[in-house]
Symmetry: C2
């Protein structure tokens, strides 16, 4: 598939966001369309928050528009505009991908969480039975908590600046996953297999660390959902304190694969991770 091969039968995929200039989804998905000779193109669509409802209505009426990836600041508002929202989207109140189904209805879901777990599994980690501390319960953090619970972690300690938010999610997960030990607020110990940053702290060089990995057991895996920079101040500090680290790019690649499957195709096996930055998954 070359640019000049776009014709009247080309299917459209797009990413909606503001700002849009740094998104990398077009590159990742168009590489797949080229590799698979799919008659499809993935375009960047720059829509400001105040134009979202109108733009969404218009875009979803385009009959050859097959799928939309949604990034900041639209993830929560689009969830409310869909005909159907998957479980992760319902729990988080936000979506990051939507597709047109055969009956014309638009359905969407949040792939941050499953992409996060896929990224761990792809790096050889077995999540079932893990004890995990999670910082940040925005859209991405909530989705990660749900996916970890679904993947059979044994213990989940939730932290958020908004104590009500961590209490609510804790109760909700406890109700749905009776075998999961879930708690909100400061944990009674630091014996975690993994500690996750799902706050935006680290996206800006002047951010404080979301937590100090110095006190964690030596075997604890330190994970960051922030992708740019790939080695955040948190991960640099964790490397100094002798901990293994897991960067945000694994989550992003895992999630792009899930979004592609949701759209009905497989992401090309070429590894887009080096170029794959912050647009699909964004921190809360």
């Amino acid at each position: 598939m070359k640019l000049e091969q776009i014709d009247g039968n080309t299917r459209l995929y797009a990413i909606l966001g503001d700002p849009i200039s740094a998104v990398r989804s077009p590159e990742v998905f168009n590489a797949t369309f080229a590799a698979l000779s799919m008659n499809a193109v993935f375009i960047p669509v720059h829509v400001a928050a105040e134009d979202l409802a109108c733009a969404w209505a218009g875009l979803t009426r385009i009959r050859n528009m097959a799928g939309l990836v949604v990034t900041m600041p639209h993830k929560a508002r689009v969830a409310a505009l869909l005909d159907e929202v998957g479980l992760a989207g319902q729990v988080t109140g936000a979506i990051n991908a939507a597709r047109r189904d055969a009956d014309g209805r638009w359905c969407g879901d949040m792939f941050d969480g499953v992409g996060f777990v896929d990224g761990l599994v792809a790096q050889g980690h077995r999540v079932a039975g893990w004890s995990v501390r999670l910082h940040g319960l925005g859209g991405a953090g909530t989705a990660i908590a749900l996916a970890l619970a679904e993947s059979g972690v044994g213990r989940l300690a939730l932290h958020d600046l908004d104590a009500d938010r961590s209490d609510r999610l804790s109760r909700r997960l406890a109700a749905h996953f009776p075998h999961l030990h879930v708690s909100a607020g400061p944990a009674r110990d630091d014996n975690f297999d993994a500690v996750v940053n799902a706050t935006p702290l680290g996206m800006s060089a002047s951010d404080p660390l979301p937590f100090d990995p110095a006190g964690l057991p030596p075997a604890t895996l330190v994970i960051d959902a922030v992708t740019k920079p790939e080695m955040t101040p948190l991960l640099l500090r964790a490397a100094e304190t002798g901990h293994r680290v897991h960067t945000g790019k694994h989550m992003h690649l895992g999630q792009a694969r899930r979004v592609a499957e949701f759209f009905g195709f497989r992401l090309a096996p070429t590894d887009p991770a080096p170029h794959f930055t912050q647009e699909i998954v964004t921190c809360p």
Copy 2:
């Protein structure tokens, strides 16, 4: 510009129509973007008549949407949705291209007429002073009549099934072009330099001829605005009766060049005419 080079800074151009599968604008414009290394992509956008207002509102709110080409059945309705319409668009009540200006306003115009004259000039014809008979005064025909008047033809005989329509346009052109001899209905003679079909007759193989070229003087040029097939039954008949013919592809290429200029770039010099069919200019 390759498909994989589409990024967050790519500017969007699109053609709106229904049906959309046969349009060739994406091919023509994307070849130009590739040749000029412009960071832009031209996509097909399939919008049904009942969705036009909503889709137009949404598409024009996309901040990196730079230009829209409009084809059947939307040309008249879009003219009414624009912030500004050029003279040819005002006279015809229809547009076939619109762009976002620097101040965010959308302006459009109808390029069928100027494209038609450009196509004649490109083939070595001097239109000034010509005597022309024109059949069909829909959007394309009206635009052609205006462009011929502006190009200094001496005599223009207008024919349309709707006699009121030819009368109205005749009076309007007479008022604006005092040196033009313009008439509506049957002409007093057949001494024309050119006779033009701007009706849709010939798009379907079972259509009757819009007129019989047999009685025309041997030097009369027979012109068809229909592009698919390129050699319409009218042109085949004119060739049999020994007349020179001028096919619709010249008008289409001329018009694509005008639309590209309106969008702010030059169409690549590669000749897209063999592939350039009916989407930009369509008969009434």
